[in-house]
Amino acid sequence: MERRSFFKICAKGTLLVAISPFLIEGYLKADDGRLFKSFNRVKLLDCYGNPLKEEILQEEVTYVFNYPYASTPCFLIKLSEPAAKEIKLRDEEGSEYIWKGGVGKDKKVVAYSAICPHQLAHPNPNESFLGYIPKEKKSMAYKEGGVIVCASHLSAFDPKTGAKVLAGPAKEPMASIILDVDEEGVFWASAVLGPAKFFDYFKSFKPELKEFYKNIRKAKKLVSLGAVVKPLDVYSKEVVIY
C-alpha cells in the first residue's frame, strides 16, 4: 500500500486500522499484531488546540498526551541530543523488534506509552510516579539523569534507545509510539510498537478509569481527532518522583 493512501484510510476510520505493511516493515521481522499495532493517525495539538510543532516543545520537559485510547497516557519528550537509531529491543518473551529513532529537526523527539511495563504505574489526573529526569539531575532509580523513571518500584528506561530498561524490576522496554512530522512540521501519532499493556491496564484500573472517564467505554474509546499534549505537571496534579 502506498504511504498516501494508507494515511487516507487512517484519517477516515475511527476503528482499529489494519496493520500496514509499510509501517511494519523495518520494525518487526514478522507480521506480529502483538508487538506492532497501528491505530488512528492522530494529530498532536498544543494546549490551545493548535497543531503541535517542535518550536514550542521545551527540551527535557515531560509532556503527556492520551493515545491510542482516551485514557492511555503517553510521554512526549524532546531530548537534549539526537536519539539513537535502529535499536534492537526485546520484549519479556524474547521477541525482537527495531526501534527506529527520534523524529523532528534533529531527531530529538521521542514518544512512549507511559504505562510502566513493570506493574502498570502511569500518570493519572491526580498523580504520576513516572517521568523524565533531566540530564543534570538524578533519581533514586538510576545513577544518571537523562532517563525516564518509575518511582513505584524504581525502574529506569533510556529514552534515547527506545526506552530500553536500564535498572529496576521492569523486564521489557516501555512501548513506543510511532510519530511522524508532516510537511507543515506538525506531529502525528499513528501506531504502537513494543509490548503495550493496554489490555492489562483496562483490566487493572477499572475503578480508577470509571472515576476519571465516567465509564469504561469512554476510557476505551479510540482517540480519533487530535490528542492534546500537556506538560506532565499540568496533566497530573502531583508528580511523585524521587
Binding site: E93, H118, Q119, L120, A121, E127, F129, M140, A141, A151, S152, H153, L154, A167, G168, P169, K171, D200, K203, S204, E238, V240, I241, Y242
Partner: protein
C-alpha cells in the same frame, strides 16, 4: 410439661437408634479405621492435568508470582496453587492498618480472582505431607500429584531461645502476645491491643538472625508511638532489640525515634531477653534491664516453615533453623531435583521481604518454564525495594533499594547497587509515603490481576 403420645413415640425411636450404636462398639472401631484409610487414598477433586503439572504450595508473595508467571512463560503447563488461606491478607502495610492509616480492604485480596485472571487452579487446602517417591502432595482435601513442586510456605516462629521447650509458655506467648509477623488473627489481636492500650510500657522485640522484614519492627514501633502521641496515651513503646543496632535504614529510624518520639520510644539495642514472666508481666534482658509491661507483642526468632523439614528438604542456614537446602542460583532442592523452594524459606541472606520474594517468584517461574520448555535461562538478582512508614497524617516514609551479587571468593551474596532514602522530613518524606502505597498497589496488581 406433659408429653403427648406422639412425642413419646418419637423419643423412643431416637433412643432405639442410639442404643443400637452403643451396643456395637467393637464394630465402630473397625469402621473408623476403614474410613481413615479410604480418606487417605482419595485424590483431590481436581481435573486431570492437561500438561506437565506444577504444584505450588503457598500463595504468598512468592508463590503467587510463580503460579502466574509460570503459566505465562509456559502456557502448556498445568499449574495448581495450594494455599491454606481462603483470603489473602498482606503483611506489608499491615503496620499502617494497625494504627488506622489504611483500611483492611487495602490489604485483603481474592485468590479466586488471581487464579481466574491468570489461568491456574487455586486449591484451598493445607499440605501436611509430601511423598517424594510417588510425587504426591497430601492435603486435608485429598492428594495432588505433581511433576514439579514449588515450596513457598514462608516462615514459622522459633520460640526455643525464650521457652527452652516450655510449651505452656510458648502457647501463651503465641496466643496472648502474638508476634504479628504471619498475617491473620495475630494482626487482629495486635490491633485490638493498640486500640485498647491505656498506659504504661508496650513491649516490642526485634529478633536476631535474618528475621522476616528487617525494618518492620522499627516501622511498627514508630507507628505505635505516632498513635500514642496522637491519641494522648500516657505510654511508650519499649523496643528490645537483640541486634547491636537498628538493622536497616538506621539514620532514618534513629532520627524519627529521637526527633518525633523522644518520649514515646525507648530503644534498647544489643539486649537479649533472658526471662519472660507473664504473671508479673515482666521481662529481663542480659543487659540487666527489668521491664514491666502493660502489653506486648513478642517477635521471636524465625525458622523455615515446618513443612520443609517434614518433606526432608531443609537444613540450618547461616542465619535461621531449617531453611530450604537449595542451589542458590536455580532454587532447586539439593535432595530432590523436582522440588524448588522460594521466598522467605531461602537460606541466602537476602532481605526477607515481599518485594524480594515476588521478584524471586518471577525468576523461579522462568527457571521451571525453561526446564519444561527445554530453553536456557539466566540467573538474575532478586530485587529488594522496601519502604517503611515512620509517621502518619501525612504518611512519611523512608526506603531502601538493592540487588544482590555473588562474591565467589567468600561464597556469599552481597548487596549490589544498594541505596537508601532516609530523609522522612519535608516533601521527600511525604513523597515516599505516597510511594509506599503505590508500591503496594503495584505488587497487588502483579499478584492478583
Amino acid at each position: 410439661m406433659a408429653l403427648s403420645r406422639r412425642d413419646l413415640l418419637k423419643i423412643s425411636a431416637i433412643l432405639a437408634a442410639t442404643s443400637s450404636f452403643g451396643s456395637e462398639s467393637s464394630k465402630k472401631d473397625v469402621d473408623i479405621k476403614k474410613s481413615i484409610s479410604s480418606y487417605r487414598v482419595q485424590n483431590a477433586p481436581l481435573p486431570k492435568p492437561k500438561g506437565p503439572r506444577v504444584v505450588v504450595v503457598g500463595g504468598g508473595w512468592s508463590g503467587l508470582a510463580v503460579a502466574k508467571y509460570l503459566k505465562k512463560f509456559s502456557p502448556k503447563t498445568d499449574v495448581v496453587l495450594i494455599e491454606k488461606r481462603s483470603v489473602f491478607v498482606s503483611c506489608p502495610l499491615s503496620n499502617l492498618w494497625l494504627v488506622d492509616l489504611i483500611d483492611l480492604q487495602f490489604l485483603t485480596h481474592d485468590y479466586l480472582q488471581a487464579a481466574q485472571n491468570n489461568e491456574y487452579i487455586y486449591f484451598n487446602a493445607t499440605v501436611y505431607d509430601i511423598d517424594r517417591v510417588s510425587k504426591k502432595v497430601y492435603t486435608n482435601e485429598g492428594i495432588v500429584s505433581y511433576d514439579y513442586l514449588v515450596l513457598a510456605p514462608g516462615i514459622d516462629y522459633d520460640y526455643e531461645e525464650w521457652t527452652n521447650g516450655n510449651m505452656e509458655l510458648e502457647t501463651k506467648l503465641k496466643s496472648l502476645y502474638p508476634a504479628g509477623f504471619i498475617p491473620g488473627s495475630e494482626h487482629f489481636t495486635l490491633k485490638r491491643k493498640i486500640e485498647e492500650f491505656e498506659e504504661g510500657n508496650f513491649v516490642l522485640t526485634v529478633p536476631g538472625g535474618n528475621y522476616r522484614c528487617l525494618p518492620a519492627p522499627y516501622e511498627r514501633a514508630s507507628l505505635i508511638a505516632w498513635y500514642m502521641k496522637k491519641e494522648g496515651i500516657k505510654g511508650k513503646v519499649v523496643l528490645i532489640d537483640e541486634n547491636p543496632d537498628i538493622t536497616i535504614k538506621k539514620d532514618g529510624f534513629n532520627s524519627a525515634f529521637n526527633e518525633l518520639y523522644k518520649d514515646y520510644i525507648e530503644y534498647l539495642p544489643g539486649s537479649k531477653i533472658t526471662d519472660i514472666d507473664l504473671d508479673k508481666k515482666r521481662v529481663v534482658t542480659d543487659m540487666g534491664d527489668e521491664i514491666d509491661f502493660s502489653d506486648a507483642s513478642f517477635y521471636p526468632r524465625i525458622r523455615g516453615a515446618k513443612l520443609l523439614e517434614i518433606v526432608g528438604v531443609a537444613k540450618d542456614s547461616a542465619f535461621n533453623k531449617k531453611e530450604a537446602d537449595i542451589d542458590p542460583f536455580t532454587y532447586q532442592s539439593k535432595a530432590d531435583p523436582y522440588i524448588y523452594c522460594t521466598g522467605d524459606v531461602r537460606p541466602m541472606g537476602f532481605s526477607k521481604s515481599g518485594n524480594t520474594a515476588n521478584s524471586e517468584g518471577h525468576l523461579v517461574a522462568k527457571i521451571i518454564a525453561s526446564v519444561i520448555e527445554g530453553k536456557e535461562f539466566k540467573w538474575d538478582s532478586p530485587i529488594t525495594v522496601c519502604y517503611s512508614a515512620v509517621s502518619g497524617d501525612p504518611i512519611r516514609a523512608i526506603s531502601v533499594n538493592a540487588k544482590y551479587a555473588y562474591d565467589k571468593k567468600k561464597k556469599v551474596f552481597t548487596f549490589k547497587d544498594a541505596s537508601t532514602m532516609e530523609n522522612w522530613k519535608g516533601k521527600q518524606g511525604i513523597m515516599s509515603g505516597k510511594g509506599l502505597l503505590e508500591w503496594a498497589k503495584g505488587m497487588y496488581r502483579d499478584m492478583f490481576m
